[in-house]
Every structure is written in C-alpha cells, then in structure tokens.
Symmetry: C2
Subunit: 225 residues, 2 copies
DNA sequence: GCTACCATACTTGTATGGTAGCATGGAATA
DNA sequence: TATTCCATGCTACCATACAAGTATGGTAGC
C-alpha cells in the first residue's frame, strides 16, 4: 500500500519518487523512455542512492522496468492490464457506490458539488489535464465517504496502465460532457439513496473506459507492449 | 504491482526482501518487532544497501513502517484495513468466479482437484500453515483461469493485514472442514456453469473471514493498532 | 566485403564512511 | 525531591567508491 503520506522517507528520495511518478503518469516521460540512475541523479542534484530508492518504488508499482546491468525504462502500456484495471475498478466502484447510497457522510457532499462545478469549467475551457484530475478526485471522494480509502490506494497501483491510456484517450476524444452527466446523475442517485440506479450508472460510466486500445496503439505504437 | 517474478533485482536484495516478507506474513516476525538496517545486514551477511532496498519495498506494501531517524518496525495489524481487504476480496472474487463459470480453461481443473485433495490431507493432519497456503493457491488458480492474475497480485498487497489476522484465526479456530466444503462446492458450480450459485458460495465463503478481530486483539493486544 | 573478437564506455548492484535527527539516561540545578 | 539540560549512542539518510554484467564500435583476420 503506497500511501505516500503515511510513509514519507523524508525529502530527497520522496521528492524524486513523486516527481518521476507525476511525469510518468502524465506521459511527460513517455513509455519506453530510458532512465539512468546517474543521469537522474545529476538532474535532481542528488546522489544515486535516493534515485535508486525511487526506482525501486516505481518498479514495484509497475511504472518502470529495471533490467539489471542494462538500464531502467518507463514501462510500456500493457493492453491486457489496462482492461484488467478497468474490470477491477468496475467491481469495486459498483460496490462502493451502493454503500454510498446507504451511508454517505453529508459533509462530503459539498466537495462533490464543488468538484462537479470545476468539471463544468474544465469542459468549457477544454482543459483535459485538469479534467482528468477532477475525474479522479470525484471517484476518490466516493471511496473516502465509504471509508474505503485503502481500497482506492490499492486501485491506484493498478491504474498506472489504465490512466496513461485514458490520458491519451481524453486528449483525442473529448466526450467529456457524457462523463460529466454521469457524475451528476450519480451524485443525484446518492442523494436519493437509489442504490440500483447508482450502480447501473457506475457500470455504464466505467464501461466508457473500455477504450479502443487498438486505436490508441495505432496512433502511438511505441507506447504499447 | 509487485510481481516478484517480473522485477527481480537479482540476488542479495531480492533474497532479503522475500525472506523478510515470508517471516512477517507468517508472524515469525510479530507485528511491532524492531528491524534495524545494520542488524539485518549482519544477519544476512550483506551490506546495508540491499537491506535498505528491501525495507523500501516492504514499506510500500505496508509490511513495515519506517520512522526516519528512529527505526523500522514490522507494522501493526490495522483492524480497519483487515475488513477493507476482506471487502475488496469479496467484490473481486465474486466477479471472478462468475467469469470462471462461463469460461474456465479445462487444463486448470486438475490443479484445482489436486489442491482440494491436498487440503483434505492437511485437515486430517491438522497442518494449519500448509492449509493456509493451499487456500491461497486455490483462490489464485481461480484468478489465473480468468486471466486476472494482475488483479490477484494487487489484492496481495492489501492482504498483508488480512492474512496475518487469518493466520491467528486459523490457529485458534480450526473449522477447516467448512472452508474445504465451500471450495469443493465452488469447483462443482464452476463445472456446472452455475454462476449464481457459485457467487453465493463465494460470498458466504469470504464472509467467514469477517473475523472477530476484537477477540484476536484481546488474545494478542500488542499485535494490533 | 564480411565476420569474429575485443577494448571501452556504459548500465545496475553492492559496500562503506560520514551526517543529521531522535531517544535515553544521568547529572546539575531549583 | 522534582525538573531541566545535555552528552551519548542509537537510527535512518545520503554520498561516494568499487564490482560486475552488458551493449557497442572499431579492428584484425579471413
């Protein structure tokens, strides 16, 4: 469980780790990019030791692949793992939103509302990166409300592949309004306590993420396995 | 995703990591045990570097807690995370066994049969540790058959707390025959393709793991948060 | 021209010395 | 006697040096 906030080894190592992770997930460091320990150490102005520590953590999350004596690379996106992550999210989120319909702390409803409003702004401004973050935050809040944040954290580990695909997808096919409407309807269902409807919405919502990976792979062949 | 077999940093570090993990999950290293880098390095006859690497990995899985400048300890069992892990498994395994009823590769049925037979032997011999491993293997085979091994791997990360509780529980209340009967019935349902029945069985099966954590905590107060 | 070999420049893996922060216990003080 | 302060020894953290394996380019031989 990589709860960053709970095991903060301090400064240097943690900083390198979180920076690299951010860049990898956002595709600023595209899949396949070579990362040498020495080079990265020079870049961050630290020694190889904390860099190595961060590489170990990233490898454990499947974000990089370490080939002994050969090099370290940003992992390629595995289409099978993309679908598997989506499958996993569907099962867990359907269960969670059912819970949310029965017991959701009222003090977390305003944050969800604010999030929705921010999504609306993002759609207007065509800000796909921010929209992605808000989407993540919306779902995270659902888990938080059901006291299942540990589950969300574990999901994140698997999401390395799915998220990178989704970023590519969101950049190409900006059908954000459908996502937004889903979110809006889900929140309404939670307020109404309609678990069956909420689950159905979540199911449809996450099936939108059954991306046409083949299409993405065609557009970015070097990014995939 | 900590697929040990896929990112093997080689010998020393990986050996320390897997050995410590084994000992922690089996409670040979009880929750709360202090682990110093230097001490562990001496024990394994390696330098502190690979030990440190293994500590980082174990911390990421929640098996140890690193307190900067203070020490490293085997993590205490968090009852909330125990239930959360069980919840997560229930959702995923119910979905997986439904899949298994529709598409399970026939060549994986014999291994399941052999596993069941081994379970019978374990029950006869009152071998709780082996029984625990066989139970894990049984469920892993289900995921393997549905091509969802990545999901199983991620589950394992969350299982650190649940598994340790289950080991305590299995040692106390050896109602293994019920587990065995569940496994047997599940396999029969898969053969028959009866998804509804299989899911119901799995649901009941995993609800057995709603352990009386309070009881365990009373028996081993120092092991829990 | 083609192939096999080898020197070299990389890579990650490991060992070790030094640094900063924290806990503990004893001594000095009120 | 109770309390504060400080020295000491512990810890993890980081930097550096060395070891070992790998890819590559040039060269000698065929």
């Amino acid at each position: 469980m990589a709860t960053d906030s709970r095991y903060p080894p301090l400064a240097a190592g943690a900083l390198v780790y979180s920076t690299l992770k951010e860049q990898i997930v956002s595709l600023a460091l595209p899949p396949g990019t070579s990362l040498s320990e020495k080079e990265t150490a020079l870049l961050f102005q630290v020694s190889r030791t904390p860099v190595r520590e961060s590489f170990v953590r990233l490898a454990q999350e499947g974000l990089v692949v370490v080939l002994p004596q050969r090099g370290t690379r940003v992992s390629l996106i595995d289409p099978e793992l993309v679908e598997e992550a989506r499958f996993m999210r569907e099962q867990l989120e359907r269960a969670v939103i059912r819970l949310a319909c029965k017991q959701f702390p009222p003090e977390l409803l305003p944050p969800l509302e604010e999030n929705l409003e921010a999504q609306r702004v993002c759609i207007r401004d065509h800000n796909s990166k921010q929209m992605f973050k808000l989407d993540e935050e919306f779902h995270r809040l659902l888990f938080a409300g059901c006291r299942k944040l540990g589950t969300w954290t574990v999901i994140q580990q698997m999401n390395a592949h799915l998220n990178r695909s989704r970023i590519l997808w969101l950049a190409n096919d900006p059908d954000w309004s459908k996502l937004f409407e889903h979110h809006r309807a889900m929140l309404a269902a939670i307020r109404a306590g309609d678990a069956d409807h909420a689950e159905l919405l979540m199911k449809e919502h996450l099936r939108l993420a059954i991306l046409d990976v083949a299409m993405l792979k065609e557009a970015h062949p070097s990014y995939f396995v």
